[in-house]
């Protein structure tokens, strides 16, 4: 750990590079290492998936990429390059004015809580514009732009929407509004943190398709974060598997599903019940998810790992490229079957 381990999509231009990112939470009871040296990059027009259980550090990684770690958390090391510029070196004012919302945006898990209940949709959309133009624009001047933005999200009856409050809309509609706001200033990068977890199954697919489509329409790069491996591999070009604040495996989505090399990834895939069989019980990974306040020594997954061998509890293995574009952090990777 600690060395810069580059993961390239092979497409050349990188819009976002996260290098050796470390984020810690300094709580009264001790230090929690939420992100322990994460390195990945996002190519132009790429859709990258980040998979992990709760507490794997995936959400904190994303917030760190916008330098928005909630207190008492702090980014303690590493770089985040957006368009080649290290945002760790920029001033907070600069980040507000030129980076957040403008170059990189984020969509949250629960659309029911992501919009402020006390302001109209129109106000909250206009705020995103005003924050970057540095002045309060008149609603009449921007109304048509806002309606256009909503129409792009397949929102019906857009004229009315601007004067509505969030509670007057359904969950799916609210998530579309959130995405519309996130895309208002045409950022190059969108981070979608569990964008459909809180939605009805019927709405999930529609919202996901909307997000995936962004790659082609305005031409964006997207990071989708989820605990649902299926959802990720179906829609993302590349998948990063995180556990205990570390990347355990990273490869093209196809390889992740067909030839997983990390025992953790394999265990995750094994958890998905096959539709063809009449399964009575789900397969679960034995043991509890890692406690980041007291992580096990060595590889964070070793207490639950089926391939555990000597040395696993001693030191953290390096993230090694075992074949081109396929990186695994394991002393005893799965053999290619």
């Amino acid at each position: 750990m600690g060395k810069s381990e580059r993961i390239d999509a092979g497409t050349g231009e990188q819009v976002l590079e996260v290098i050796d990112l470390e984020t810690r939470f300094f709580t009264l009871t001790g230090v929690i290492n939420a992100v322990r040296g994460v390195t990945f990059s996002l190519g132009k027009n790429e859709i990258l998936g980040i998979v992990g259980e709760s507490g794997s550090g995936k959400s904190i990684t994303c917030l760190s990429a916008m330098r928005l770690v909630p207190t008492p958390g702090r980014i303690t090391g590493g770089k985040v390059l957006i368009d080649g510029q290290d945002i760790m070196l920029e001033s907070e004012e600069d980040l507000c004015l030129n980076v957040r919302g403008k170059k990189i945006s984020m969509v949250f898990q629960d659309p029911l809580t992501a919009l402020n209940p006390t302001y109209t949709i129109g106000w909250q959309m206009k705020e995103a514009l005003d924050l970057h133009s540095g002045r309060a624009t008149k609603m009449d001047d921007v109304r048509s732009d806002l309606i256009d933005a909503l129409k792009q999200m397949n929102m019906p009856d857009s004229e009315d929407l601007l004067t509505k409050f969030p509670h007057q809309l359904s969950g799916g509609m609210r998530q579309r509004v959130v995405i519309a706001i996130a895309l208002l200033l045409k950022p190059a990068i969108l981070i979608a943190d569990e964008p459909t977890t809180a939605l009805d199954v019927t709405v999930q697919a529609a919202v996901l398709d909307l997000i995936v489509r962004l790659r082609d329409d305005p031409g964006m790069s997207v990071i989708i974060v989820s605990h649902d491996l299926n959802l990720i591999v179906e829609r993302c070009d590349r998948t990063v598997v995180m556990y205990g604040g570390l990347i355990l495996e990273s490869a093209s989505s196809e390889k992740i599903v067909t030839r997983p090399r990390s025992p953790y990834t394999r265990a995750l895939i094994h958890c998905i019940p096959p539709l063809t069989e009449d399964t009575a019980a789900f397969n679960a990974i034995p043991g509890d998810a890692v406690d980041l306040a007291q992580p096990p020594t060595g590889c964070p997954f070793h207490p639950r790992c089926a391939n555990r061998g000597s040395g696993c509890d001693d030191s953290v293995p390096d993230l090694a490229e075992i074949e081109p574009g396929h990186l695994v952090r394991c002393f005893y990777p799965e053999s290619v079957a």
């Binding site: 909630p70 207190t71 919302g101 984020m106 992501a114 209940p117 409050f165």
Partner: protein, 315 residues
């Protein structure tokens, strides 16, 4: 909305009726009456006592007295003070605005102190600053209003001698005199009130700190302070408004003590004077006005909710 207001206003009628019964009954249950207070228990002038009792209908049965009083109230005829012998209406019209001024002034002080303090504490929650602000709040919460008032009189009125210790020359003074006279009463009542509001608002703000809409505002590009004011505070005031409404009611009754400490010529003094001399008409009208004001404050607080929180609409 309009229907709701009408229904609420209609509900005021039974509330006030019930209030008037309780007020009237309580006062007449208290031992002693104005005549006894004036002439003493021995009764040196029995004929005179009888004459005055007859004049003020005090010899009639209590229900009869109540209906006479009710009829007077309904026709806005407030009658005369038994002890002072002067009409009550002018007393009320000069004193009630002063008490309202004192109450609102105290609330203004309370809000002016609590909002910035709560925001500072929330922004630096679980740090030394937060603990320090909590400590100050706790000190003021546990402090009786009159103690703070007396302490202030000692410091600003006696040792430093920069503020008047009494406000009894209220009617004749200039505007500046009035303002100067109001500073200490408003501060002593306001600071004690601000402590509770600070604690509540701070808790609300800290709760909202990690709400998705605050974080989403940050990802939109809002600065830390903008998110705190426009998104966090905007939502925190909804719950805090309940407390402010309640505190305003408590302040009304709380300023009675303040009025006495500072010889402030308001309703509180009138009430205390009335109670000690069993001046029935004065007590009845002042208590009723206090109660009515309470009802009105509650009504306004309820209406304020629908303004503050768009999710609440009275249909």
């Amino acid at each position: 909305m309009i229907k709701y207001i009408i229904v609420r206003l209609a509900l005021v009628v039974p509330t006030v009726f019930l209030l008037s019964v309780i007020v009237f009954a309580t006062i007449h249950l208290v031992p002693g009456d104005p005549i006894t207070v004036m002439f003493g228990i021995e009764g040196y002038y029995p004929e005179e006592v009888e004459r005055i009792k007859k004049f003020y209908n005090l010899d009639k049965p209590i229900y009869w007295q109540y209906f006479v009083w009710l009829k007077q109230m309904a026709t806005l005829d407030f009658g005369n003070s038994i002890v002072r012998g002067e009409p009550i209406l002018p007393l009320i019209t000069t004193r009630f605005p002063r008490t309202i001024m004192l109450t609102l002034g105290s609330m203004l002080v309370a809000i002016a102190f609590s909002v910035p303090l709560a925001m500072m504490a929330a922004k630096r929650h679980n740090t030394v600053i937060d603990v320090f602000i909590s400590g100050i709040s706790l000190t003021f919460i546990s402090m009786p209003t009159f103690l703070l008032a007396v302490l202030m009189i000692m410091v600003f009125g006696v040792y430093l001698d920069i503020l008047p210790t009494t406000t009894h020359r209220f009617a004749s003074g200039s505007t500046w005199d009035v303002i100067k006279g109001l500073i200490m009463p408003c501060l002593s009542a306001g600071l004690v009130t601000s402590a509770g509001i600070t604690r509540m608002l701070r808790t609300e703000l800290v709760d909202n700190l990690h709400k998705d809409y605050v974080l989403f505002a940050r990802t939109k590009g809002a600065s830390d302070n903008r998110a705190l004011v426009f998104h966090n505070l905007r939502n925190a005031v909804i719950a805090t408004a309940t407390l402010v409404g309640l505190e305003l009611g408590y302040l009304m009754s709380g300023v009675i003590i303040i009025e006495i400490v500072f010889s402030y010529p308001g309703m509180g003094q009138l009430l205390l004077d009335g109670v000690t001399r069993r001046d029935y008409p004065i007590i009845q009208i002042t208590v009723l006005i206090f109660a009515l004001t309470f009802v009105v404050i509650n009504f306004i607080t309820d209406l304020l909710y629908s303004v503050l929180d768009p999710r609440i609409r009275y249909e």
